[in-house]
């Protein structure tokens, strides 16, 4: 079945008509007392992590600038790039939810900084991410589907260096700065926020133009190594972890156990990714802050498919599924649930849940 991912197209309209859009999703039962404890907010973990994050960036950029253009600065730039071009994605995400800090202004401040680094309009993306949570991987409704079917491998691989993201972000930035939100963006951004979209875009654009002017004046790309280019050379980690969130899994379903993936990761990746490797848990209970996700995982893992034991194992599972989707777009991974888990919710889209004649799926 051909999918139309446009937010203005027929698939989105059909999702609304059938009730697939804005549906009630499956949740694992968690006692209210436990959930209340898990949802509690605290400033301390995020302040600690933010000091480490921004402090490390200052030190690494300082080393890079002080010893520029020595080859010995390459490790410092590589580390700086990941903190700028990848850790910003998770900070943008968590602070956008408002769960990272207890204090609202701290969430908002880090959200604005991270949005700039990851080249996302902070006004637009707050709303796009709300839609992603309402209609996760519902075709024609979710504006944040990272891997569309059939998967465009060339694009996916180039995006490890941010190429397509940045190529899309810069013209949109110019459009937003001059004209406000695009027609598609207007489908999920309320009219009251359209002015803010333009204001944010103008601020971002002014910073980029000032950086570019400085680079030209100095006759050096050094200013761009600090601002702008790390979105390219440091993007690989957030793309690597981001693809694992939903890649190769079901679309058009209302059970996050079918369309999201939890992967156990090393401590450095978990710091960069702010524990979003517990992705089924995050989608099921977006109120739970990143620092409580491991505890939430322990509370509900009896009801979830087994997590992938590592990033490599996640890719080993996902990549062949994506390749299979090249030839058969309806293919997806349906993982076994542990004994005693509640069955997958199959009341909406049986066809999307594997109720397909075996002969319709070509063999490997």
């Amino acid at each position: 079945m051909k999918r139309d991912y446009s937010l203005l197209g027929p698939d989105g309209a059909r999702a609304v008509e059938t009730g697939l859009a804005a549906a009630e999703w499956y949740h694992t039962e968690v006692p209210r007392k436990v959930m209340k404890e898990l949802m509690q907010r605290s400033d301390q973990p995020a302040i600690r992590d933010t000091v480490i994050w921004l402090g490390s960036m200052v030190v690494l950029a300082g080393i890079g600038i002080a010893f520029w253009p020595s080859f010995w600065t390459i490790p410092a730039w590589l580390a700086y790039g990941v903190l700028y071009g990848s850790a910003s994605d998770s900070r943008w995400h968590e602070c956008g939810h408002g769960t990272a800090f207890r204090t609202a202004w701290m969430n908002n401040a880090v959200y604005e900084i991270a949005s700039f680094m990851i080249m996302r309009n902070s006004a637009t993306w707050r709303w796009s991410h709300a839609r992603h949570h309402t209609d996760t991987y519902i075709v024609g409704r979710d504006p944040e589907i990272a891997v569309m079917r059939p998967p465009a491998f060339f694009k996916l691989i180039l995006n490890f260096f941010g190429v397509f993201d940045v190529a899309a972000a810069l013209p949109r930035l110019a459009y937003n700065a001059v004209l406000g939100p695009t027609t598609e963006e207007k489908t999920f951004v309320p009219q009251s926020e359209w002015g803010k979209v333009a204001r944010v875009a103008r601020i971002h654009m002014a910073i980029y133009l000032a950086t570019l002017a400085l680079a030209i004046w100095l006759g050096s790309i050094l200013p761009l190594m600090v601002i702008g280019l790390p979105r390219l050379y440091g993007a690989w980690h957030h793309v690597m972890t981001g693809l694992l969130q939903h890649g190769g899994l079901a679309d058009n379903v209302i059970d996050h156990r079918l369309n999201s993936r939890t992967v156990y990761m090393n401590p450095i990746s978990r710091f960069v990714y702010w524990n979003m490797n517990y992705h089924v848990e995050h989608h099921m209970f977006p109120m739970v802050p990143y620092h409580a996700l491991p505890r939430l995982h322990d509370a509900i893992k009896h009801d979830l498919p087994a997590p992938n034991p590592s990033i490599a194992a996640g890719f080993a599972e996902m990549w062949p599924a994506l390749r299979r989707q090249l030839r058969y777009e309806d293919y997806f991974l349906r993982r076994e649930l542990p004994e005693g888990a509640k069955p997958y919710r199959e009341d909406f889209h049986r066809a999307a849940l594997g109720d397909l004649p075996e002969t319709a799926i070509p063999a490997e």
């Binding site: 804005a22 959930m35 209340k36 949802m39 509690q40 907010r41 939810h97 408002g98 769960t99 207890r102 609202a104 707050r126 709303w127 709300a130 949570h133 309402t134 309320p190 009251s192 926020e193 209970f285 977006p286 109120m287």
Partner: protein, 104 residues
């Protein structure tokens, strides 16, 4: 014509928490503030039809469990995106250990 309905016992709602109360096809949320006062609002978020009863009460704010929008449950005022439309509030009365809500 409006009427007063018994919603719950005061003990049914922990301090700094809420519960759901359904009546005549409508759903409401009953709050117990940290100061010990009770309040009532519509039971679903104004952003999308999500029950607030699974959300988090922090001080005088209630946060929607789906998109983290926040309201001041004393006034119904929308305080944090993605909620833009205020929440309807209802008069409440506490008598003899019971919480009563005035519904239309």
């Amino acid at each position: 014509m409006s009427q007063w309905i018994r919603a719950c016992a005061t003990d049914d709602v922990d301090e700094e928490d809420l519960i759901r109360f359904d009546h005549a096809g409508e759903t409401y949320a009953i709050y117990h503030s940290p100061e010990g006062d009770f309040f009532a609002t519509a039971g679903k978020c104004t952003h999308e039809d999500v029950h607030l009863c699974d959300g988090l009460v922090m001080g005088h704010l209630v946060e929607c469990p789906k998109h983290n929008g926040q309201f001041d449950y004393r006034t119904g005022e929308a305080k944090r995106a993605p909620v833009c439309v205020n929440l309807r509030t209802y008069p409440i009365r506490v008598e003899a250990g019971a919480v009563f809500i005035e519904v239309p």
